[in-house]
Each structure stands twice: as structure tokens, then as C-alpha cells.
């Protein structure tokens, strides 16, 4: 018997799900995989107690969930950092347009005076690219980034984005063209998103290894 539709498996998985935190799709895949594994395990035990034996083999729900805490934290960090890396250049381009600073005709000093946050952006990009690369296929060649380091990198990048947006908004809000107003609005949206990320990280529920 493989325990198909058995309420004990549903209850067990619901308990595991209660202890998982991270991107929803990732959590659903983990639960689908565990469900399949539990049924396979149950099929290997004889009689009525097969489902109980399979559940006992998998172990306490909290401990099983904890085993996935690291990969879920990394998945959250990668998703957030990728989002910031993709939207960052668009927001940057909008600011350059709004302030009429074509980078190919503007000297570095003029750029830095108009956008004093550029060094912060450069640091954020380096931290984000490194964390995304060393939690993906580059981990074969570079030192691997663990879950806690991935969340730390995400916090650093989100904080830098928040500071950069705050500086730009404080400097240019209520000034200039409609395009500047649009850039301020978009930066305000990212600032709020960055604060939401920082709040999520500050209240991250699971304990993580390095």
C-alpha cells in the first residue's frame, strides 16, 4: 500500500509546511517531492501501518523542515538580489534620462556630483553578483556562499538601495521635469520594497548555518 490520499500524510505535510519559510513555489516543490517520497516509502512497508512507518522514517516534521531552511533562505536571497540587479539598471537609466546625463558624454566627476550614490550602487552590484554567482553554478569553482551569508548579502544590497533611493529622493523630489517626478516615484517604490526586504530579513524565522 502506498497511502494514496491518506489523511496522515496530508497532516504530516501540513505540519512540515508550517515550519517552512521562503519563496512559495520553492516550498510547494519541496512538499510535492516529500509527498512522493512518503508514498514511495509507504509502498515499501507491509500492511496497515505502512503510512505510519513511512512517516516515522522521514522523521519529525520540524526537523525535516529545518533541513530545507538553508536552501529556502538562499532561494529567497537569490530571487531578491536578481530582482534588484534587473531593476537597478532600469531605475539608473531613468535617473540619467531625467537629469539629462548621457553617460557617454558626461564626465565621471559630473556624474558623481549629480548622482553621489553611484559608489554605493557599485558596491551593491559587486555584492549582489558575487552572492548570486556563488550560490549558483559558479559554486563549483568559487567558495560557496552559505545561507546566512546569502541573507547578509541580501540585507547589505537592500540597505544600500534604500540609502541610494532616499538620497536621490531627498535631493530631487519636487524639482525638475515630469521625468524627474517619475524617477522619484520609481525610487520611492523601490525604497519601500527595500524596506520590506529588510523587515523580512530582520524577522527571518529559521536558524541557519553559516
Amino acid at each position: 500500500m502506498d497511502g494514496w490520499g491518506d489523511p496522515r500524510i496530508d497532516a504530516y505535510l501540513a505540519e512540515v509546511a508550517g515550519h517552512l519559510s521562503g519563496p512559495r513555489r520553492r516550498r510547494e516543490r519541496i512538499l510535492d517531492e516529500l509527498r512522493d517520497g512518503l508514498h514511495e516509502a509507504a509502498a515499501g512497508f507491509p500492511g496497515e501501518r505502512a503510512v505510519d512507518a513511512a512517516i516515522a522514517e522521514f522523521g519529525p516534521p520540524r526537523r525535516v523542515a529545518e533541513a530545507f531552511a538553508g536552501e529556502l533562505a538562499i532561494a529567497y536571497g537569490r530571487r531578491t538580489l536578481t530582482g534588484l540587479l534587473v531593476t537597478g539598471p532600469l531605475i539608473g537609466a531613468l535617473w540619467l534620462l531625467a537629469l539629462r546625463l548621457p553617460p557617454w558624454r558626461t564626465g565621471l566627476v559630473v556624474l558623481l556630483v549629480a548622482l553621489p550614490v553611484l559608489p554605493l550602487v557599485a558596491v551593491a552590484v559587486v555584492v549582489a553578483v558575487r552572492a548570486v554567482a556563488t550560490t549558483g553554478s559558479l559554486m563549483r569553482w568559487l567558495p560557496e556562499t552559505g545561507p546566512r551569508q546569502a541573507l547578509l548579502a541580501t540585507a547589505v544590497v537592500a540597505a544600500l538601495a534604500v540609502v541610494a533611493d532616499a538620497v536621490l529622493i531627498a535631493r530631487y523630489a519636487g524639482r525638475g521635469s515630469a521625468l524627474t517626478a517619475l524617477a522619484v516615484t520609481v525610487s520611492a517604490a523601490r525604497l519601500l520594497a527595500g524596506l520590506a526586504v529588510l523587515h523580512r530579513l530582520a524577522t527571518w524565522p529559521s536558524r541557519l548555518e553559516k
Binding site: I30, E33, L34, D36
Partner: protein, 112 residues
């Protein structure tokens, strides 16, 4: 007999998982069973060790996975990538030298 704890396998788990997928694609629980039967029951790794390690190997590009529907359930089957085969060959080479060295060092002195 003293049981072998998962921590002892640290550093060799990747190689064991890659080896379990060498002949054919397998789903997560089939990998656990392959390690159990292949080791004559000595290596009985918990789910909480095997599934996250498979996911990590996939992130590293050493294995890939595909989802199928089997008997109304979603099933994820893993298979080696070309990089995974190369990594397995390297692991084997390292293991051969490591195990020969440790066996020589731990060898019981001949009686008499």
C-alpha cells in the same frame, strides 16, 4: 556495530549521490534506497540530508531534474549532467587515493 552517522559522510555525500544517479535517473526516495541497498544497509541516510543535498547539486549544475506525474502525484527525477559525470570521475580519483592512504595508515599490524 557502531552506526555510521551522516556527519561522517561529510565531504563524500556529493560523490555518493552522483554515483547513485550514474546508471539511470532516479527520484529522491529512490536515491535513498539505492544508497541503502548499495551499501548493504550500512548507509541509511535521512530524507533531511538527501533531498537538500540533491537540490544543492542541481544549483551547482552537476545534476538536472524533471517533473513527471506518476499515479496522480508530482515526481521529480534527477539525472547527471555532463559536469556531474566529470565531477564523479574526479571524486572517484580522490577517493581511490584517500582510501588507499587511510587503509594503509589504519591497517592492523600483522600478528607475530
Amino acid at each position: 556495530m557502531v552506526p555510521i552517522r551522516p556527519e561522517v559522510l561529510k565531504g563524500h555525500l556529493d560523490a555518493l549521490l552522483l554515483a547513485a544517479l550514474e546508471d539511470e535517473p532516479r527520484h529522491g526516495y529512490a536515491v535513498i534506497e539505492a544508497l541503502r541497498t548499495g551499501s548493504g544497509g550500512t548507509l541509511d541516510l535521512p530524507t533531511g540530508t538527501v533531498y537538500p543535498a540533491l537540490h544543492r547539486l542541481q544549483s551547482a549544475g552537476l545534476i538536472s531534474s524533471e517533473w513527471h506525474t506518476v499515479g496522480g502525484r508530482r515526481r521529480r527525477a534527477y539525472q547527471l549532467t555532463a559536469s556531474g559525470r566529470a565531477a564523479l570521475a574526479q571524486h572517484r580519483d580522490v577517493w581511490d587515493r584517500f582510501s588507499a592512504a587511510v587503509t594503509a595508515l589504519l591497517a592492523r599490524p600483522a600478528p607475530g
